[in-house]
């Protein structure tokens, strides 16, 4: 059965048709790097100060060889940098989210799968390297070095003393001005003498601006300018020289001519990145550094300030330590450090504000690279990683940052649809639809920004992405968002309608629908039918689609079809052999017991079919718990974060907290854990650690999930509050599914006050412990609950 009328159209028309149904929103979305209106300047805005709790600090800089562990990230959502903060040798490794090699990648390998390389599939890669050399300020010659990352204001500050003079520099990436600014000042008689060098990292050489193109045709460019007072700033050859300056402001920008539009081949041919970068830095440099800073801080804080978290009070001893010492002390002494643990959540929010606004979404490393060739291409992995990146966005009041993911999917789906139609049923593809039918869209495990897939086909990836997009709707109740994602949901349903197989379970006569041959990420047999991962995701997809159809009053007949299919979907059983919820339609464990992925538990989290509240058969909850227990408590970054979220859903606060603490342990010699700059490090082999940003988002998501569980119509306060945070704390501005925002205070393990604001939701139950009540709030209104009985 095929319900897609577009299937009869030639390819070009199909693209146009899909693009049209994918709403004008995709085409109306701004290209990644574009001229923009003059920013609003916050003329009389009050000065924004931040609490010391929102400041991370260190007593040593990074250097060229330690940027990924020690460099501090800045970003304006599109344009990012890792900074060394070295007094004598400031290095900024500059990235643009769209700086990608590769392309559509539509010639499959002999096994019917996608090439996965830096040429065809492509890779995120560095845009530029900016260095500011101040020879007289060699690290060996300065004292009292300190650098801070102010999460609330989005500013990195470096200070040190040289020959009795205190020098200070501030670094920030401004979204309103679309530039990165480095502002160097000093307290007295000090002077700056040195050079600013901007270089491409792909052989372009140095220059105050440069422009070039990749083999895939992507044009890119960057520019820098500098000005100072009290001395001379001159362009000499390919560098900017400065001498005797009392202060110095360096402004850099850059980007590409990427456009999120499949119909245009993901390019904006009218855009000259080098020229645009030059005009951006010139425009910004016309304003004082203080003005640029104020504009940036106002913009950053508007997002950052919407969410507050207190997990308790740390000791004076803990507060006296720098961030790296504090991480080490946390692991060594075993004593909770609630302010550090809360700051880790805010750091994740800082990364999201810095890395996911107005351009492509966050991939495996977000905007932060230390070389041209990040591991796994720094790409979008659709079998946990990109989803995990965005679990935190809504939960931590950064719904606006989620849009990058939505816009990406909307812009990619025409190509994904085209590739699915042309290539998915390739006879060499072991995951093809064995019934020979094909409709809708799916994608690969890895995706790039050019509509291309990499590595292997990932049939259920479409459902997982759709479910993520749907969850954003549940949090925000945004009708515009729902309109935007509806075509994706429908296309995914069409894919599954074509793919599902009818089978009869052994020993019965009941017909069920199961997924065709697939691989449960990323282990076990590669030709397993009815894997739990797919069944759960499609079950949720079909349900979401039906709600979407009803809310939009669209495609009612098709929704009925999907609803009918959903009722016949096979759902996993508990293995009589292992007692685990089965990962495959087999009582046997066909994979690794402690495998990193929790694919068969996707219905526990992020899905919530499996609920420990009596609404799910207890043997299913027990099977999920037993499986989660078997998976173990000692994996690495994102795998621990996912485990923690699952334990939070099972209301096991101790396990959920322990996994967070495990992720906070310091990474030494590339070991699993948290690097000095708080980036999460995944040890792929002894001595080799890789930055993967997902745990930096997944771990904060777990913290919020421990404090507040929500689904449409139901909130639960403090479902998994660990002893470490029980004494007192607060969560403010936390969005809840169903269209609410919650402010929550607690003491001695019990809520003292909960304020439920409606952002579209109307009625919800609010539970704590064994008790529950129903509240009704008008959109825009709020209710406050105080009397919580056990």
């Amino acid at each position: 059965m095929n319900t897609d009328p577009a299937r009869l159209l030639p390819r070009r028309d199909l693209l146009a048709a899909t693009a049209a149904t994918a709403t004008g929103a995709a085409l109306a979305a701004l290209p990644a790097f574009t001229a923009s209106a003059a920013p609003e300047r916050p003329a009389n805005a009050p000065r924004i100060t931040s609490s010391s709790h929102d400041e991370l600090w260190w007593q040593a800089p990074a250097d060229d060889n330690s940027m990924i562990e020690q460099g501090l990230p800045v970003g304006n959502g599109r344009l990012g940098a890792l900074a060394s903060n070295d007094p004598g040798h400031e290095v900024l490794l500059v990235t643009d989210a769209t700086m990608w090699t590769g392309g559509l990648n539509d010639t499959l390998d002999a096994d019917g799968q996608f090439p996965y390389d830096r040429d065809h599939f492509g890779s995120l890669t560095l845009l530029a390297r900016l260095t500011v050399d101040i020879p007289d300020h060699d690290l060996g010659a300065v004292s009292r070095y300190r650098r801070t990352l102010d999460l609330a204001r989005g500013v990195v500050t470096t200070s040190y003393v040289r020959s009795g003079v205190t020098y200070q520099r501030q670094l920030f990436a401004s979204r309103p001005d679309d530039v990165i600014v480095l502002h160097l000042t000093q307290s007295g008689t000090g002077r700056y003498t040195g050079t600013v060098t901007l270089e491409g990292t792909h052989g372009e050489g140095a220059g105050v601006s440069f422009g070039a193109a990749f083999a895939n045709g992507l044009e890119y460019g960057a520019a820098v300018t500098a000005h100072g007072t009290g001395g001379r700033v001159t362009v000499s050859g390919s560098h900017i020289s400065f001498a005797g300056c009392k202060d110095l402001t360096v402004v850099v920008s850059g980007g590409t001519n990427y456009a999120p539009d499949a119909a245009q081949g993901y390019r904006d041919p009218s855009l000259d990145p080098r020229r645009l970068a030059r005009s951006k830095v010139t425009d910004a440099a016309a304003h004082s550094a203080d003005t640029l800073l104020r504009t940036h801080v106002t913009d950053h804080h508007a997002l950052f300030g919407q969410f507050g978290l207190s997990l308790g009070t740390s000791t004076a001893q803990q507060r006296s330590l720098d961030t790296w010492e504090r991480l080490r002390a946390r692991a060594r002494d075993g004593a909770p450090d609630p302010e550090l643990e809360a700051a880790y959540v805010q750091f994740g929010r800082y990364l999201m504000i810095s890395g996911s606004r107005g351009s492509l979404p966050l991939g495996l490393q977000g905007l932060w690279l230390d070389g041209n060739d990040p591991d796994w291409m720094g790409d979008y992995h659709t079998d946990i990683n990109i989803q995990m990146n965005y679990w935190m966005a809504d939960r931590a009041a950064l719904s606006a940052c989620f849009d990058a993911l939505t816009d990406y999917c909307v812009a990619q789906v025409p190509s994904w649809t085209d590739l699915t139609r042309r290539l998915f049923n390739d006879p060499r593809n072991r995951y093809r639809n064995s019934r020979g039918k094909n409709a809708g869209w799916t994608l690969a495990i890895s995706t790039n920004p050019y509509g291309g897939g990499g590595w292997w086909w990932h049939p259920a990836g479409n459902a997982w992405l759709c479910n993520s997009l749907w969850e954003h709707y549940e949090f925000t109740r945004s009708r515009a968002h729902l309109e935007k994602i509806y075509p994706l949901l429908k296309g995914a349903c069409e894919f599954w309608e074509a793919r599902l197989l009818t089978t009869t379970l052994p020993g019965g006569s009941k017909e069920v629908l199961i997924a065709d041959s697939d691989w449960s990420p990323e282990q076990g047999p590669r030709d397993a039918k009815g894997i739990t991962y797919a069944q759960e995701l499609v079950w949720a997809l079909f349900g979401n689609y039906c709600v979407a159809s009803a809310e939009l009053k669209r495609d009612g007949g098709y929704a009925e079809t999907i609803s009918g299919l959903r009722k016949k979907l096979y759902l996993p059983q508990v293995s009589p052999k292992t007692g685990w919820l089965e990962e495959w339609m087999s009582p046997d464990n066909l994979g690794e017991t402690t495998h990193r992925h929790l694919s068969p538990l996707v219905g526990l989290f992020p899905g919530d079919r499996i609920r420990p509240d009596g609404s799910t058969p207890s043997e299913v909850v027990d099977g999920a718990t037993t499986l989660l227990t078997a998976r173990g408590m000692n994996s690495f970054g994102w795998a621990n974060a996912w485990r923690s979220l699952c334990w939070a859903r099972l209301k096991n606060a101790d396990n959920a907290y322990q996994l967070i603490v495990t992720n906070l342990r310091p990474s030494v010699n590339g070991g699993n854990g948290t690097a000095p700059n708080l980036f999460d490090i995944y040890e792929t082999r002894p001595g080799r650690g890789i930055f993967q940003i997902d745990a930096n988002f997944g771990t904060p998501a777990a913290v919020t999930e421990m404090l507040l569980y929500s689904r449409p119509g139901h909130l639960e306060l403090l479902p998994a509050l660990p002893d470490a945070w029980a004494a007192s704390g607060s969560l403010t501005g936390a969005p809840a599914r169903g269209g609410f925002v919650v402010d929550l205070r607690w003491q001695n393990g019990r809520p003292t006050e909960a304020r439920i604001r409606s952002v579209g939701g109307r009625t919800t139950t609010v539970a704590f412990g064994g008790s529950s009540r129903t509240v009704t709030v008008a959109p825009g209104g709020s209710v406050t609950i105080k009397d919580f009985a056990r």
Partner: protein
Amino acid sequence: MRSSSYSALPARTLRAAVVLALAAGAVTVAPAAHAGSTAPTLAAKPYMGWSSWSMQSSKYPGLNPDGDYSYLTEANVTKQTDALAAKLKKYGYDYVNIDAGWWRDTTWKPEYDQYGRQKADPGRFPSGMKAVADRIHAKGLKAGIYLPAGLEKEAYGDGKTPIWNADGCTTADIVYGDLRTTNGWDSSYKLDFSRPCTQKYIDSQAQLIAGWGYDFLKLDGVGPGSGKSGDQYDNVADVTAWNKAIAATGRPIHLELSWSLDIGHAADWKKYSNGWRIDTDVECYCNTLVSWENSVDDRWDDTPGWTRYAGPGGWNDLDSLDVGNGEMDGLTKAERQSYATLWAIAKSPLFTGDDLTRLDSYGLSLLTNKEVIALNQGATPPARPITPSDPQQVWAAKNPDGSYTVALFNLADSPAAVSASWASLGFTGTGSVRDLWNHENLGSLKDKVTEALPAHGSRLFTVTPHGSALAFTGYEAESPANTLAGNASVADCSACSGGKKVGNLYLGGKLTVNDVVVPKSGTYQVKIAYVSGDARSAAVSVNGGGATNHKFPSTGDWGTVETVSVPLTLKAGSNTITFDSGTSYAPDIDRIDVPKSS
């Protein structure tokens, strides 16, 4: 600066007396150099100068155009002599040391005189070795030369080569009948000093170089050491003979021993020589002169066991100080400063192997920093680690004037903050900090100094305490109140406080010091007195919490106690402190001392 402040030290007096006695027994002429003084005139301070070997051994482009080690020529020595005189002499650098190969041609074929003694290769040194020494002396500098230990095989000449000034003695009369070989390369026949002719051969070599006017001899390949052990490679008798022979010449000639000398014979080296290489060559034999990993960084681990042997008359030689030209040296600025810092505070001789005609400005500033040179050459004792040998470590020495020499090191591959806590120096309150490399006072600091160090970086301070001495509570490891686990056991230890220690801390052996009481919660710099003949690690934990692995520097042997401080977070009241050997071998623990305030 140039006169020794050690004139009153009894140990030195004793040593000088021993030398005199030996000399008197061997020859009729008393060594003028030692007469009438209680202080050694040789090596009263670590010597300073230049050596040819770093450039000879390097594959740096252009240095050795005529084959390996061919840099060593009269012309090059002259060039370096002139550069040393012009640039570095006024800072105290005065030795020009010719290293291996002066008697070998570019194919390494040796030349000997008719008495089996090394003879200048005319290709390298057309004017001969005396002329070279004269040229060096004419610049107001001292001349150094080099010989390998033993009778070089090529000098044996069928055993019939006569020994100079030794009636009837030939080379067959000075070696063993089985022609057993010796030295680090087995390039010589071992000398048999039970035979009367043998000392004559050493005498003849000593007379030769003294006659040429050399002031310094590097005797190389000496064992035990130089990668060898066992009787065959025991060259203590050679060194003794050289000591005698030099004394007999009447010329003060500094005797330096090389390489990787066996610390078990430190007393011998100290008795008969003026310095000993504690480690393998610092050179990398690569495209630069040295490299950090091969093997500058070894010295931080290998030096501490030797520290106590350094003193006027004989010093721990860490090898060439190749910090003068970053590009040729193959080191970062930070690495060069750390290199110079360690050499300075360890009181190592300061001889550079750089091309002195091509010093860069940073290299020149390192080599000519007067405050750092004064530390190396002055009355201050050598520093040693006061923290474990972890990637971030602190070395210190208490100076005669009450100040402390304090060096911070970051041996990690990425930048890190390093702190020296006043508590680990033994005082509390404030201390004023002088930055020697930067010639700056950093002010009066409370409790500690913390600085950001680059990868492989260092800082060097003099800290003057203004606070009061810190009071400690001691806990003996052997106390019956403690808990021993695994193989751990109490053992006698004459050097230890209480005469006992806890040893056998290996493969799970564990010591828990119980009931460590402090008045309030905080981080305490706990002093750990331990014994460890080699560098060993232990996992240290408090109250059963997470352990931190620390590497304890070697104390040089199993009868010497040293102390390092470890920061431990203790809670108010009673605590336990555990030393766990884990899957390896840990040092023996003598006692711990816990500050009475954090």
